[in-house]
Amino acid sequence: MKNIIKPIVFIAILGGMLAFLSLVFEPKDNLESYDIRSLEANGILGEPKNTIDILFLGDSELYSSISPLQLFNEYGIASYVTSTAGQKLFESWDFLKKTMKNQNLKMVVLDCNLFFRKMKYNEILNNKLENFLAIFKYHNRWKHLTKKDLLLSDKSYTYSDKYKGYLIRNNIKSVNKYYEKQSTDKIFDINIENVFYINKIINECQKRGIEVLFVSTPSYIEWTYAKHNAIELLAKKNNVSYFDLNIDNIANIDWKADTVDAGDHLNYLGARKTTTQVGKYIKDNYNLVDHRYDVNYQNWYQLINNYYEKIRSIEKSS
């Protein structure tokens, strides 16, 4: 009996220590100096309470395609892009959970490129452990722990991204040889663990009355008809709308001029076209409040001015 009690006590004390250290090491702000990775995406944490209606979740395809400031300017939609390079669905789930703590979301848009990124069980488990005990994720902060950390101060997030998660890119690298993609009945296989997380996100949203929309942003390299078929099937199964901008080239993307890397990601020209189309689709199909004349959103205009100023300077120099 003694031999069982001792390890249990040892582990319990260790667990207590780790839990305490997790409180110490957990970032108290969403600034770079607090070892926050993917700063732009984590900027959502710094947005004022209940001001974001739409959360865009995705990978680099998404932050190259959707500009929330343009969406606001054109349609009055208050949104944020929490996409990160190579994002995996368990990370999307984390972003959604974190965001829902502070925002009363009306809609979640999932960029469907996420559905095809493989996740290893190992990564998923690691992520779960890191979420459970923050010390494992933020242990490197020992180099710059602050008084705030040692006093276990409350978290207050002060950073928000000036483009609301969008990444402006202006260089052009055309698609070398453009071929029209052939339609097929084949269905791309979505991994079971990815389906699990997609369902998890949908269920959580439906439980809270949040609309879910699947979007395939334009990508000449990533997109195929087989993937489209798989997403369409999944959307039907879950009673979710699916908007694919690759079919019939709805956004009128010019693959000679609108891409930064020969067809994978869009530059600001492609993003402008895509954002307009996505905004139009949302406006036509969902009943969202237009915040353009809302006094609580006046600070968005300063950001919008800076954003268009930046776009103008890019256009001028090119």
Binding site: I13, R37, L129
Partner: protein, 529 residues
């Protein structure tokens, strides 16, 4: 899933321990076998089939060898001496054939996955030399994890059965577990059947003592691996990948850091492996014995990757040096050049073969072959000059075991090792030679400054952590070298001191380990060899 990852340490291992403990004694080895196959599957997927084939191969050929021996015994009954000799010779020849076939199958698997590309390149070089306009495009098949390790264990099993050292095992599961045991599949140590198979199959209960000692050893391994080896990954990569940008001092620093990294990585993983075995009451062979306290290269290799060294000694060196041909050479040369140099020639041939194999075992590339021959040359020189050096010590009344002289000899050996590792880590032999030359021709001490160190991601706080941890490892090594069992000593301390030490160790690794964020973990280096 790797040994140093949270999923292994916090989920996989505890789960295996729990199931192992709950089931009956007889079922325990099967739990270990299933866990091993799951572990290997997570790393190599369907390539697990190579291991299954190797298992079936040694099982079948082992039984075949034994059956042949039995048949021989039956046959020689009631025969006269001369006839017995004839029959014995016939059966020995048959067994040689069986052994050869078994080893050939194992070697084909390892060659297809590791050496095909290298063979292709060399054939093309040869053809070009003879101006034959023909080119082969050979490439390696994807290698399953740990193939170099379990193939050597498998060969040792077959040879030992052939030599009559052990009896062939009919129990396929026991053999399967011997080859696949999950803690040692990736980086060894290379086990011998006689040492570990029985122990593995015993299904001993996990005891409190074994669990404590095992976890303790795992934590010490993690300290070496996560705090030092992984922390040095970025600077080592920057120096070796950008060797043309740096002068001699930085390249020498790179070689030193790589030597530290390699030792911390490999010995750290071995600590985790042995510790994991210890939890299940399985004693795996030690692979390191404070190698950086060696006074010469021969001693270094008896303390570094011990199981590989002894494998080469038992299955390559002795068979060659004790062969009829070698004995003939030795006997004739002994008369001509004396008792010291006479046996040296045959020994040198065997030694050369060992080091060629050692180099190639590490990888199919010329810098590995060079690495092997570099150590061969150092050992050979020591063998030749040892009598002269000993005479020198005697004439000058120097005691080579005196502290100061010993320290000089240790430093000298360490320097030799560091230069060897430079070639080992270099991307090619040519680059290794360029780096080696630069160390002597472009040695400018002023290039070692904070700016350069910071550019190599060796910031002050990183250096402090590396320094403190190296000091901890160094002190523990000295204690071990003095023959003091530090673990037993700690175990005898009162519980509050013991637990404080354990908590400090665990928290030190968790907080200061170079994992997550911008750190890129070193892929377990020896797993690729």
């Amino acid at each position: 899933m790797q040994y140093f990852e949270l999923t292994f340490l916090i989920l996989f291992l505890p789960l295996v321990m729990l199931i192992y403990q709950l089931v009956g004694k007889k079922k325990r080895p099967f739990i270990l076998l299933i866990a091993s196959y799951i572990f290997i599957y997570t790393l190599s997927g369907k390539l697990l089939v190579y291991l299954l084939l190797a298992t079936l191969c040694i099982h079948h050929f082992g039984i075949w060898l034994d059956a042949n021996k039995k048949e021989e015994k039956e046959q020689i009954k009631d025969l006269d001496k001369e006839e017995k000799k004839q029959i014995k010779l016939k059966y020995l020849k048959q067994r040689k054939g069986i052994l050869f076939l078994g080893i050939l199958i194992l070697m084909i698997m390892i060659t297809l996955t590791k050496y095909m590309a290298f063979i292709g390149v060399n054939i093309n070089h040869l053809l070009a030399l003879f101006k034959i306009n023909l080119k082969f495009k050979l490439s390696n098949l994807v290698a399953p994890i740990g193939i170099s390790f379990y193939t050597f264990s498998a060969i040792s099993y077959l040879v030992d059965v052939y030599r009559g050292k052990i009896k062939a095992d009919n129990n396929l599961f026991k053999l399967a577990l011997f080859l696949a045991f999950f803690p040692q599949i990736m980086e060894g140590p290379i086990s011998r059947y006689e040492d570990t198979a029985e122990n593995l199959y015993e299904g001993k209960k996990i005891t409190y003592h074994n669990m404590c000692f095992g976890i303790q050893r795992i934590c010490y391994g993690l300290l070496k691996k996560l705090v030092i080896a992984d922390r040095l990954n970025t600077p080592v990569k920057l120096i070796f990948n950008g060797y043309d940008k740096y002068g001699g001092v930085i390249l020498l620093l790179g070689a030193i850091l790589y030597t530290i990294q390699l030792y911390m990585d490999f010995s750290g993983i071995i600590d985790i492996v042995i510790g994991t075995g210890e939890i299940f009451g399985i004693k795996l062979p030690e692979n390191f014995r404070q190698p950086f306290f060696s006074k010469n290269i021969s001693e270094f290799w008896s303390r570094w990757h011990i199981t590989l060294g002894t494998w080469f000694k038992d299955y390559i060196f002795y068979p060659i040096s004790l062969s009829k041909m070698s004995r003939k050479i030795t006997n004739s040369l002994r008369k001509k050049i004396g008792n010291h140099f006479g046996p040296l020639v045959a020994g040198t041939i065997a030694l050369g073969t060992v080091w060629l194999c050692n180099g190639l075992w590490h990888g199919a590339a010329y810098h590995y072959v060079f690495f092997g021959f570099y150590h061969f040359a150092l050992i050979l020189m020591a063998n030749i000059f040892n009598p002269a050096i000993n005479n020198f010590y005697e004439i000058c009344h120097i005691n080579p075991e005196q502290f100061f002289i010993k320290a000089i000899r240790i430093i000298k050996t360490t320097i030799f090792v560091i230069f060897g590792e430079l070639f080992f880590r270099a991307q090619s032999l040519k680059i290794g030679l360029v780096m080696f030359k630069k160390i002597f021709t472009e040695f400018n001490i002023s290039s070692l400054n904070w700016k350069t160190l910071n550019a190599l991601k060796l910031f002050n706080y990183e250096l402090i952590i590396i320094g403190i941890t190296l000091l901890i490892v160094f002190i523990i090594s000295i204690i071990k070298e003095k023959g003091i069992n530090i673990r037993e000593k700690i175990a005898k301390k009162p519980i509050y001191i013991r637990w404080m030490i354990y908590y400090a160790l665990v928290l030190y690794v968790i907080i200061f380990g170079a994992y997550g964020g911008l750190y890129i973990p070193v892929e377990p280096m020896y797993a690729d060899f």
